[in-house]
Symmetry: C2
Subunit: 285 residues, 2 copies
């Protein structure tokens, strides 16, 4: 076998930390209207999606993020029928939501059609349900959608990138005020909420916004291989539902194929490390 080039792709964190992955091949690269999108096949993580150079999801461990953003709120809602996903263009969250028989309709609002295109072409593990007839896929701005829609939702999942670039306005109170107004009585909203070690201030900001609007607010953690800094979080908010007291066991038909989430992990995810608890506990209720 001939030697090829020694090809690596790099994710840069604040110009003080870089994660480099040995590349098998580059599969997709496009400058969309919103961001630079790349799909790269790596030795360590399999196929990987980058938005503006930030690693969004990988074949090897996408299940962690997608199971945890989905099954915590879905199990805490008594009967989720209508689900809204903001972002989530790789399709992994929709795939998990569509496992529930109770779900009648999923609206997914992704701002960037190139994310959909890249994942449909190259990340079938997440994109596999994007043609499901229960899914209404809208290519538009999530902010605009939540302001204008006349639909109401039982579960809203903010499956966004980091609070820079196109996702930045998704971390503001104006957006969550609109989200609150389109949620049903028992509605739950869960949002990607960064890393407690590296983004404590952002976590406090997002929880303080939710605490102004909702009666039930909390934050829960998970760990995967790909995101920098070990522990990552989702924030939870609801008008009525408590994610610990009101959560049910998942139906066996769903639970048996999951790789990360289970009932023990659900409860454990809300047990915050002391430093994080000290930071956010004033907003938890």
């Amino acid at each position: 076998m001939k030697e090829g080039i020694d090809l690596w792709v790099s994710e840069n964190f604040n110009d003080v930390y870089r994660m480099n992955y040995r590349v098998k091949e580059t599969l997709y690269s496009k400058e969309s209207d919103f961001q630079k999108i790349d799909v790269v096949n790596t030795e360590h993580l399999g196929k990987v999606l980058f938005n503006d150079g930030l690693l969004m999801t990988s074949e090897r461990d996408e299940f962690v993020y997608h199971e945890m953003i989905t099954h915590v709120p879905m199990s805490a809602h008594p009967n989720p029928k209508k689900v809204l996903i903001i972002g989530g263009g790789d399709g992994g969250t929709a795939r998990e939501v569509l496992k529930y028989e109770s779900v009648e309709k999923v609206v997914m609002v992704e701002i960037d059609p190139c994310v959909i295109e890249a994942c449909k072409k190259h990340l079938n593990v997440t994109a596999c349900e994007l043609d499901n007839p229960k899914l209404e896929l809208r290519i538009e701005d999530g902010l605009k959608y939540v302001k204008e829609t006349e639909d109401f939702f039982d579960v809203v999942l903010i499956d966004s990138t980091d609070p820079i670039g196109p996702a930045a306005p998704l971390f503001n109170i104006e957006f969550y005020t609109d989200v609150h107004s389109i949620m049903t009585e028992n509605g739950i909203v869960v949002s990607q909420c960064e890393n407690p070690f590296l983004a404590g201030e952002m976590q406090k900001k997002l929880l303080s916004i939710k605490a102004e609007l909702f009666d039930k607010v909390s934050i829960y953690n998970y760990s995967n291989i790909t995101y920098p800094g070990g522990l990552w979080s989702f924030s939870f908010a609801s008008k009525t539902q408590d994610p610990l007291l009101d959560a049910k066991n998942l139906p066996d038909a769903i639970a048996k194929d999951l790789k990360y989430y289970n009932r023990g992990v659900h409860k454990a995810a809300f047990a915050l490390p002391q430093f994080q608890k000290n930071e956010v506990q004033e907003f938890i209720k």
Copy 2:
């Protein structure tokens, strides 16, 4: 200010993944009889200790590892008086153990005096209790010590590097048979146990060894910034003590200054992700 060189230090994982840290200054570098030891001051993690190029501990988040290796077993033992630490040359584990008033004696057996030297010079956050009069610091092979000592211990902490290089024999049944023989009736042994995503086979091997020797065996997880792959584990074994049923709350005097460990984190750490549970549950008892 003049521009200096653009200096980075790199940790290499299986030649498919590299974590690179921007360097402020290199502080220590020595080829010992056992390994290459470096202390580097980084922008991202503060001062960092490398053994053979693997990142062992960092100023920024050493508290996670050291609190979790220590307080889980210490709280599960009814009255820990004598504690043995194998490895642990940076001193962080000894620092945590010495917080307990019940502790009369800590024996720490570190094979490499250069680790001690490097940390005493440059990592005071972990090395701060290495001159504590309750600590007997022995520079020798941990394998030989556990084979020959006539002492008995309430808690044994295997604070080792990865199962390559000088620590490799610490992952074998011969070693744990000797450890078992120097443990008191309620004795507990906890061992550094790698990453469930990346080292599932090693976790199974270590748990199978413990399951042959002990009546109580389990594994628990934590997440820090520095170790590759998010989730890392410690394995727990005891002749009598169950880490969930028998664990007490820590004394307030200890708990109030901890940054990661608390009672909720203790319980949550044993809730394994489903893929890990599937791998190891045959050994848990």
